[in-house]
Symmetry: D2
Subunit: 336 residues, 4 copies
């Protein structure tokens, strides 16, 4: 990465700050030149501590800065698609947090704008860059387990989000399962052609009252003939449960959880080990850096990004199909 890359971060919530901090810390060849947030008020000290030159309330000022090469879109979900369009029109490379949008037309519009502008575009499906899942993908692609027959993803949160969040989240399938829809596409290298959502409210009746579910087993068919299953729950009291299993014609692969330590203690009453790493920040911290590394590399080397526009679209389509399946009580087909 010979040439210095200047980026602007749009949105300074938890994930925006996380990305800004990671970039400053890990990429000497990248400068976080500006940050924009509608609540820019309290950001000055934080921005200064990271050496970020400009703090704006309006992201358009970032887009207007000719010194900025790329934007990291971390604003609220409902702004992703139109900021993507504007950033593309301004000629900026774009890293956009998932999802691009919940409205398929707006996703298409955003991808269209990106295509027209010829800028790089990467979606924030960070789990693809996780050490465990990346190795599973590599093993599958190497042919080590033959043709994929069954893929299973277990994805459970340690505790449900606040009810206010649940209400605006787009529903569990689009908010939480969307990562798992991306994961099964990533692992199988194939598209989902059918989805059946077996779901229930088993954690908190208030989630049901808000029109959502909190527990689900989602059955999938893939274009390459494989079948799959995603297991979700908004609450596993023992912690963040992130596992995958793949069965192929020549072998099987399992991934268990990462833990803080390998310590096992045995006493007169029990043999105890660590619970999984607490939540996504602990579990996937490295992947947030890795996805940025790939994004900056695709800019520097003018290559395809690792998570393309289609990868932003497909999980939303599967999520919408899952919603429809749950409402109708039967499988829903997708184009694949």
């Amino acid at each position: 990465m010979a040439k210095q890359i200047n980026v602007g971060v749009i949105g300074a919530g938890r994930i925006g700050k996380l990305h800004a901090g990671n970039i400053v810390k890990n990429f000497p060849a990248v400068t976080v030149k500006a940050i924009a947030d509608i609540n820019a008020g309290g950001l000055a000290d934080w921005a200064q501590s990271l050496g970020i030159a400009d703090v704006y309330q309006d992201y358009k000022q970032i887009l207007a800065d000719p010194a900025i090469d790329a934007v990291i879109i971390c604003s609220s979900t409902d702004t992703h698609s139109h900021i993507t369009i504007e950033a593309a029109q301004a000629g900026k490379h774009i890293f956009c947090e998932k999802p691009i949008d919940y409205d398929v037309k707006r996703i298409h519009a955003a991808l269209e704008a990106v295509k027209k502008a010829g800028v790089k575009f990467q979606v924030g499906f960070n789990r693809r860059f996780d050490h465990n899942f990346k190795k599973v993908r590599e093993l599958i692609q190497s042919g080590a387990i033959g043709d994929v027959q069954i893929v299973k993803v277990t994805s459970r949160d340690p505790a449900p989000p606040p009810l206010e969040y649940v209400k605006v989240s787009g529903g569990m399938f689009l908010d939480m399962t969307i990562h798992d829809f991306d994961m099964v596409r990533y692992l199988t290298g194939s598209e989902v052609t059918e989805v059946y959502a077996n779901a229930a409210v088993l954690v908190d009746p208030a989630i049901g009252a808000a029109g959502d579910v909190d527990t689900a087993l989602i059955s999938l068919k893939f274009k390459n003939g494989a079948i799959g299953m995603i297991d979700n729950c908004r609450q596993a009291v023992y912690g963040y449960d992130q596992r995958v299993e793949v069965l192929g014609t020549k072998g099987g692969i399992t991934v268990t959880n990462d833990t803080p330590t390998t310590v096992v203690m045995s006493t007169g009453s029990a043999v105890t080990a660590d619970k999984p790493k607490y939540f996504f920040l602990e579990r996937y911290m490295d992947s947030f850096t890795e996805e940025m590394k790939e994004f900056f590399q695709s800019i520097a080397e003018n290559t395809e990004t690792a998570v393309a526009g289609i990868d932003g679209l497909k999980p939303v389509l599967i999520g919408l199909a899952a919603q429809e399946s749950y409402r109708a009580g039967k499988p829903v087909k997708l184009e694949g």
Copy 2:
């Protein structure tokens, strides 16, 4: 078990011989007095080595022997229901290998005859007596993990049966998954109210040509609100994969495979551990003895058997629903 129990074994195939041998070896208070098989010809030596007094070609001779208290029905599946009826009418206690029948009417007739005769009746769902699964059931019933939310069963064979067997097996759902249908009922203590079978032919096209599937993910709903998933494959090249997972409101439980040894070898190229115990004879050997122990205890102490008539009926109903679901491509409801 003060009083000696005399049993007759009907059917001297692999499982019949297994039960006879186990009984002779492990239950001093039980005598295998007779064995019957339509191919009784070559049985004399084997029977003598076990001290079995009578070898018959016709099972009716066992039923006619007033000294015999109980029969172990291990003949071919299509004979289970009518032999059960005749044995009940002859006043014999009955241990019947699974399934009782694939025809629901005939199952009802058999259970009716058992009820009328007042004899003990136990179905051969041996996995309930497995050390691992039994402990899972106990933990669930103790309340240790709260209310069950999700139950998952992985059940894969090391290699598919001969094609000739596949053709007369009743189909994978009734031949193989039937054990798993029993397992989810056993673990959750609840009845299945809906089944959706996502299945495919991914192991051997000849199995598909024979009208069956070889790989399946079966999605379930339970009367108590829980949801579940069964994962089947006729072939996992690494061996017999028999695992369960349960998520409850207060905790989760996982069961991994039993292995021949705990040896782990690390070399310059890899860290390797044992594959699972080879197949059901190796994996479930102890459970075949345990189920007999419970059967004889229920006779000796005049108590309910551990796997009652209803337990023989329900898995068949679920299996038939799974077949219907697969054919129709949508979920099928059950009475529960």
Copy 3:
């Protein structure tokens, strides 16, 4: 095993009854014809239930029975050597529980008698027949890990024996570590040439007051150049800890404990797994049958026994050297 073998069991304590029961249950070609115990009084019912024809107070009656081919010596340790001599003189094949004696001269005398009589002689080092350790030995002998560099044995009891037992046990090195001395010889296929015992009283001061130790790390040198370590404790509160590790020039091997089940439960407070199988009866049950199988095979096929006389002598010599080392506070050499 064409010819029926008749055995007499000498000593009807826990281990004697265990062997008798195992033989009756597992070896149709072997008959337990007689049992002898100085407290023969209460044995009639038990013997009858196993179909044992003769119950004697004096073991000499077993030796005098020409129908008896072999004896299983399970009497108290101080009688092992002289009964071995008498049994050999009577022409009986001999399975003798460990140790043959604590007096080296008497061991030599016993082995001499065995040699002269030309009878089979096997010592009860049952752990050699354990599924885990047997596989380690096989891997080492196959060359899979190259030349052995380091062998480590962890051997801890769940609780100390009664103090009365400790006092007559011959001391921890001869009573408990003796199994581990056998294990390192078995695994390395080499002889111990030096022993240094680092030991202490850390479990119960009363054990120290009785002149014994309860915790030890015993450092070893082997003839083939390898070095080794045995880790003993009379009490591990979490249970019977039986592990080995071997490092070789081409790889390493580890063996972890066997557990009752593979169940892992995760709750809000911890991830818990089974403690090891409780004690030697649970842990090594299969090995008691396996060692008998080999003994009977060596008789039937007239081959060398799996645990020969030298294998009964060497661990005692190492144990005595360990005692000397502990007393002197320095390493003690052995002939090797």
Copy 4:
């Protein structure tokens, strides 16, 4: 850490560069102002990329800079003690890589100088800051396993160092085991009172020809009554093996290796898992940052350092005793 701390790094070999990079990346409140190396020639670009202002050939220029608060001594081992003395006299806080020296008198002189100057002094025993071992220490100190009875450390390198390094390394006990001597002190919270080194040349005869050993089992006694064992090898072909075990009166603790991923692949031939993380840079990367964090905290908050002068002295004394024990072939006592 309100006040900015300026540090100078002395020695720009692998570990010096590692510390400099870590500090720049992770501690915004700390500035690496200068670096010194006798081969300062090629450092300019690297220093500039990290924003290090001054590059010196002579470390004395760092000591002469009044703006520098602390030095990180990463030069060759034979310079540690005298640079420590000079740095202390210059009033700089000192982080010194292990060992301070192999000469006990010079260690004392260095510690004396530190004491006189009243500066902070921390030794680079980074493994104390490892997530696994730190938790073991915490569990022990919490009383969770009662009084420590046995401590065992396994510490094996993936491959031996170059022979030229072996020759000047001070010998395996001082070069490699020194970390383990620190570890047992850290875990037990007690001092070693006796050491017996059972060692051999089993990896490479050339190491023996150079007067060193490559494989060892070191038996230890502790002041608090516990006993211990360290298992070393210059080469474990499967990789960097870093484990500990502790047995206490109320429980036991084991730590297994960290691995790159949790992926397990099962095929027809084997079940394979990851080898340990490759070597110390991969395995202990986080600990290098953690030890710096503690060092800077002790400066900022004027508290005791986490690894004090005595912690630099004791492992050397134990290492020298181990050398003596190996040469004499018997245990050597220490003051404790």
